[in-house]
Symmetry: C2
């Protein structure tokens, strides 16, 4: 198997005959516009650091978010600023990059122009990396009762709902209401659902267990509901079993083959007719790509992702690339490249290198996803890791997960802050960010 | 001058003849209800730790806020969780205390009952410590254009407005709009106004100065507007002059004797007819006590504070005490006790000790405010300190301010976190929490 050892060397320095290289360049520096500063977009910008181009990064938010740890904000373990970095700070010293905080309204591919609320931004190369949102499979009304987890706003909202449920349970004298308040339902058995369920049960049984007088927070139920017959379907069978038993050992009730048929402010109804009364339902059951396919009016797959060719290029649209969770890309054996941070990062670096190669008159080899394995954390000392030949579970997998995430967390400072918080939390079971905050709360 | 050396010894252990001491106690433990878990309420609860009472702390939020550092959240220096602690965590090991997160709707003093949204809470002793809000002197409509700073929600809103102004200035091509976006107006020359103005100019000139391409953030104007002829009126004249010149040295424009006559989305108009165009006006010009006087239907002073007697007792209302920013209390020479954290803390401890004394059949000496001095910070290495005979300014005052605030910050963990952030910010001029977040932003 010819897997490349690092995404850094993934370029393709094959020289070609370039008869009119300088003539082919426009008189000004080529303009590269990047939409979205997640793992894909930010790494595309960083990969073009020394390239003779003018880069404009457009994002509706002012920060890059380390999404793999977002569930820890939602469960009061970390503060938002610990997993988010201002985009312009990351790119402050990169003089060829300009950051604009703007909402993209569309793309005029004929005029090679991005449309925002206030301006038209011309491009020679456009990299779309606008990510994905959670999806409700046609039940958008469920969102009000079952928020998903993609943004910092989502995370602080979920944190407020979880903590408020315990607060209200402490106040009420109604046993039925108390039981409902102390039942948490997580819909979706992928990595995010598993992480959330594990973190909530640990919160209830460890972090806050001594804080209440009228309730015993350790009696809280956390119910993980998955329509499929298996959790974490990306993992091999043996690790799936382990993940399920690790979750159950923590105290999570795992319901497999249980599709949600209704979701309202009383909780959820399942396909088998069962109802689970809950005041706090969280949604981790699916994602839908951003609107890019609509902007471009091109083919999308079932999850709304733009179908790109082997160079991450949109067929028929000169200079237009789509990467990360917004792109539908085939990996080896034609299996789809997963929507994970590392894949987005590799795609961002790949497109940066491809543009550099094109500017130098070279061609690029097709994108190849370097799959280093698959990690999912479940709780304290609980995780599964699939490294191809090596499979880990429990403490070792958790250690690996922790170090891998610290390593990839952007920026030295955030890394130390998160490390200190983790070390503290590990020693004390404490949660540092237990705030129920609201915008302009009074 | 007979000033007491510590608030801890402020009780009055004068024994009296108590003929029927045990008979006077009701068969159950006396119920102490505390409304508000700011510095006053929390210290009242902590002061009753070993008392034979049942304490109920009621707060509409789940956290105690270290308000003296709130301006640092508003200017992206600290994260909310670094200056806020869950109330129930502070009181977790205090078995005689129950915390209820509820909004108080009123007090029935005849029935000795507090009314909340969901229940009636009977009390034998009631301590009202519900603090104060900013006030607009009859211009409540100004609040939308000029938010004040009292809650974490206020702080993250102000942070978003400041950072968004720079982001929009980077995007626009309109010079007049850009100038308006790069002009920040702070209304009110008290400690909060001075802190905000200093922190914003430092943000513009240091923390973010290398991050933009189309604007020079160091050209931002920060205008501090005060209706009085002096800043920081609680300080002696010599320090006032120093505070003004320290602010001006940082780059703040100080306008004294400049009452605001209009405040809209174009900025502010001043009494002399001048207009200052600004997209970000912040309000630090006055406070109004919480609704306690209305709940009790008793006399209030001009700032809405309940007039209490020398024992912080509400005349004619048995067992009812009002403390902190909600109380109008006379200090030595009949001067009012200032609305500062240390005064609230002392009042909380005083009432706790008074209740313990009453339960033991003793009487209590009148409350006496131990005034340790007055500190105001202006910026990096800039502050003023009035310690009575000793007056400091500049670096020494700033050091004293920093250590005093670290010392008083509740909880070991928050202290180290804040200390690390300050050390880092001092070394690098960095701001760690530069996030423009919204509730459930998309």
């Amino acid at each position: 198997m010819l897997r490349q050892s690092s995404e850094e060397v993934m370029i393709l320095a094959e020289l070609e005959a370039t008869p009119a290289k300088t003539d082919a360049l426009p008189p000004r520096r080529p303009r590269v516009v990047i939409l979205g500063a997640g793992f894909g977009g930010l790494n595309a910008a960083l990969g073009l650091r020394n390239a003779p181009v003018d880069i404009t990064v457009v994002d509706r938010r002012n920060y890059h978010l380390f999404q793999p740890l977002l569930y820890q904000v939602a469960t009061a373990g970390l503060s938002p600023a610990q997993i988010a970095m201002p985009i312009r700070r990351v790119l402050a010293s990169q003089k060829n990059a300009t950051v604009l905080m703007e909402k993209v309204e569309g793309v005029d591919t004929a005029a090679r122009t991005v449309l925002t609320g206030s301006r038209r931004i011309p491009y020679d190369y456009l990299i779309i990396a606008t990510g994905a949102r959670h999806a409700y499979f046609g039940h958008d009304a469920w969102e009000a009762n079952a928020p998903g987890l993609k943004t910092i706003g989502d995370a602080t909202e979920i944190r407020a709902r979880i903590l408020t449920a315990f607060e209200k349970a402490e106040v009420t004298d109604d046993p039925a209401l108390r039981e409902k308040l102390l039942t948490f339902v997580v819909v979706g058995g992928g990595p995010t659902g598993v992480e959330l369920a594990g973190a909530i049960i640990e919160l209830a049984r460890k972090a806050i267990v001594r804080d209440f007088r009228n309730i015993d927070s350790s009696t809280a139920r956390v119910v993980l509901v998955e329509a499929d017959e298996r959790l974490l379907t990306a993992f091999p069978e043996k690790l799936l079993q382990s993940a399920k038993s690790q979750l159950e050992k923590l105290g999570v009730e795992v319901k497999l083959g249980a599709a949600v048929t209704e979701c309202d402010d009383n909780g959820v109804a399942l396909a088998d007719g069962q109802r689970v009364a809950s005041a706090c339902v969280l949604w981790a059951a699916g994602v839908m790509a951003s609107r890019a396919a609509k902007w471009l009016d091109v083919a999308a797959d079932r999850a709304g992702r733009v179908v790109v060719d082997e160079h991450l290029h949109v067929p028929g649209r000169e200079g237009l690339y789509v990467i990360g969770d917004t792109a539908s890309v085939k990996g080896k054996d034609d299996s789809p490249v997963p929507g994970v941070a590392l894949a987005a990062k590799q795609m961002g670096r790949y497109v940066a290198d491809l543009i550099k190669a094109r500017l130098a008159g070279r061609t690029a080899e097709p994108f190849r996803y370097a799959d280093y394995g698959n990690l999912a954390t479940i709780g304290r000392k609980a995780a599964v890791a699939d490294l191809g030949p090596i499979q880990l579970r429990g403490f070792l997998a958790w250690l690996l997960w922790s170090f891998a995430h610290l390593w990839f967390l952007v920026g030295f400072r955030n890394r130390t802050g998160v490390f200190l918080d983790w070390a503290w939390a590990y020693a004390t079971f404490d949660r540092s960010a237990r705030l129920i905050t609201e915008r302009r709360d009074r």
